[in-house]
Symmetry: C2
Subunit: 315 residues, 2 copies
């Protein structure tokens, strides 16, 4: 059964609502010992803005290795036939591959890279596991926009994630420029939960939510969020990393530039925030979209797995 | 009859082609007296890049007056019912109004504003008339992308414009930011005419070209143009003005930001470059989209028409 009261109820009423966040943002006490990872200043920025953009996080050599690995994986027939691979409509061209932290050796190591995991642990204040992972290859010329959304809204309703205690980590494998539809985040938006317009009670138990229609924030709330904190575009060179709060309002415009955008995306969730049942009697989404039963507490590894590019790809 | 040879043939073959520009870019001799308008440096930049971005061209007071006038016009029922007004699908919300240089008193004066016209005359090296004019109100949240195109390709094929001797002038009435889908131009692209894939000869004389399918540059050519000169986004505050060559490759990404983008757009064509018949036996487009018979050589006026905002709007 769902709990009787839900601080972050969504898709339950005919009206949208703006609800103040109740959960911490950075779970580590910033007045004490913050441990290895991001600096105090970076964590304070994250707390204030809901994200941190770390430019040039990975050296060029490592980024090149990662991009080659993602492209190799996307063109591997053994991958494109899997359920984890999402292809362009009517084509074999792979646009996204889910669960890369398990099905790809290099990206599995990347997900455990101490440099990333330490920061995730600072933010959620505990050990972490990968709630979702993905490699994205957004094509040039016809890259579609991705409308504003809070990941937590979806994860809370569709996956039964209890609290705002997860952080997304996007590793940019190509340059993100003003013109190729970079990730946009509304600073400060993570402080507000936008309860989305929902089904009438009679339809609560419908088994299939269509994303296009549900979990979409309303225009007034988006205007409110943009007015209070503006919009920041994650314009940054390949190798940069963005950590952003699970409730940060984000999206991206289309990409008509001829240049693709590729990234690898990990969602680190606190091991104290594992999934309950989805809301409204929804069926759980597949394990490769939302880790429910097979979660593994991450043991961070040293970054030398990328030291020898050719070795890391061929071994 | 169409001329036997057409330096800029398009939509005639199954293959795309890149053709070197044969026409001048700035028709005024830059080694001599350049007259009033833009500086020599600005004109040389325009010649090289195919555009010039003039930030803060109109003072804030004038921009406010212009934006108010455009918004007033768009909400005027006498305007929204006209053929020149383009509404959102299934709505009375006006997205664009054509022929504003004739149907609106303030914008008519704007089209003759000496500050603008002088620059247009420098570029095309002659007197000018308005080939097309438009006020655009691009909505926030759901502003659609506009795919890459050369205006000249359309004007040459569909309107019978002989030479590359026209300049577009976009007056930004709202801030154009990184996140609200600003105009993007490929610098240097005006040097190349991209001949688009076309109908087979049997279908040449079809009366209706659908824009979605014709006049679309191919992926290889776009990549070539972007590689040679990059992509520049016209990020600039309200009141800025962009002059760009009729053959500059341009477009814009979608606008999911909550902020609309409004501008007024004039195409100044040389009076020595008036329209011939459209290609392929096409019917001429309506006069409000392409001035053919009713062109009037512009007599520049002093900018004092915007001095008293309330007067200029109410008189």
């Amino acid at each position: 059964m769902a709990p009787i009261t839900d601080a972050y109820e969504s898709r339950a009423a005919r009206d949208a609502a703006i609800i103040m966040r109740r959960d911490p943002i950075v779970y580590t006490d910033l007045t004490g010992h913050i441990g290895p990872g991001a600096s105090l200043e970076q964590l304070e920025g994250y707390k204030r803005d809901g994200f941190m953009l770390l430019e040039g996080f990975f050296p060029e050599r490592e980024v090149t290795a990662l991009l080659e690995e993602v492209e190799r994986m996307a063109s591997d027939p053994a991958i494109s036939g899997r359920e984890e691979a999402i292809c362009e409509p009517g084509s074999d061209t792979v646009r996204s591959v889910f669960k890369v932290h398990e099905i790809n050796r290099v990206l599995s190591r990347l997900s455990r890279d101490r440099r990333l995991v330490n920061i995730a642990k600072q933010i959620v204040g505990s050990d972490v596991y990968v709630h979702q992972s993905r490699a994205n290859l957004k094509p040039g010329l016809f890259g579609k926009e991705f409308y504003w959304h809070s990941d937590f809204e979806t994860w809370h309703v569709e996956d039964g994630m209890p609290d705002m205690r997860a952080v997304s980590c996007s590793i940019l494998l190509t340059d993100n420029t003003v013109s190729n539809g970079p990730l946009m985040i509304m600073p400060g938006s993570h402080q507000y939960f936008i309860s989305c317009i929902g089904e009438t009670p009679d339809n609560h138990y419908k088994a299939s939510l269509r994303k296009q229609e549900y979990g979409v924030p309303d225009a007034d709330s988006l205007r409110f969020l943009a007015d209070q904190g503006g919009i920041r575009s994650m314009v940054a060179p390949a190798g940069s990393v963005v950590f952003f709060d699970c409730n940060a309002m984000h999206g991206s415009n289309s990409n008509i530039s001829p240049y693709p955008r590729s990234n690898v995306f990990f969602v680190y969730n606190s091991i104290d925030n594992t999934l309950n049942r989805p809301k409204y009697g929804l069926n759980p989404r597949p394990e490769f979209i939302a880790t429910r039963d097979e979660f593994i507490t991450i043991k961070p590894i040293d970054p030398d797995y990328l030291r020898d590019v050719s070795k890391s790809i061929s071994d």
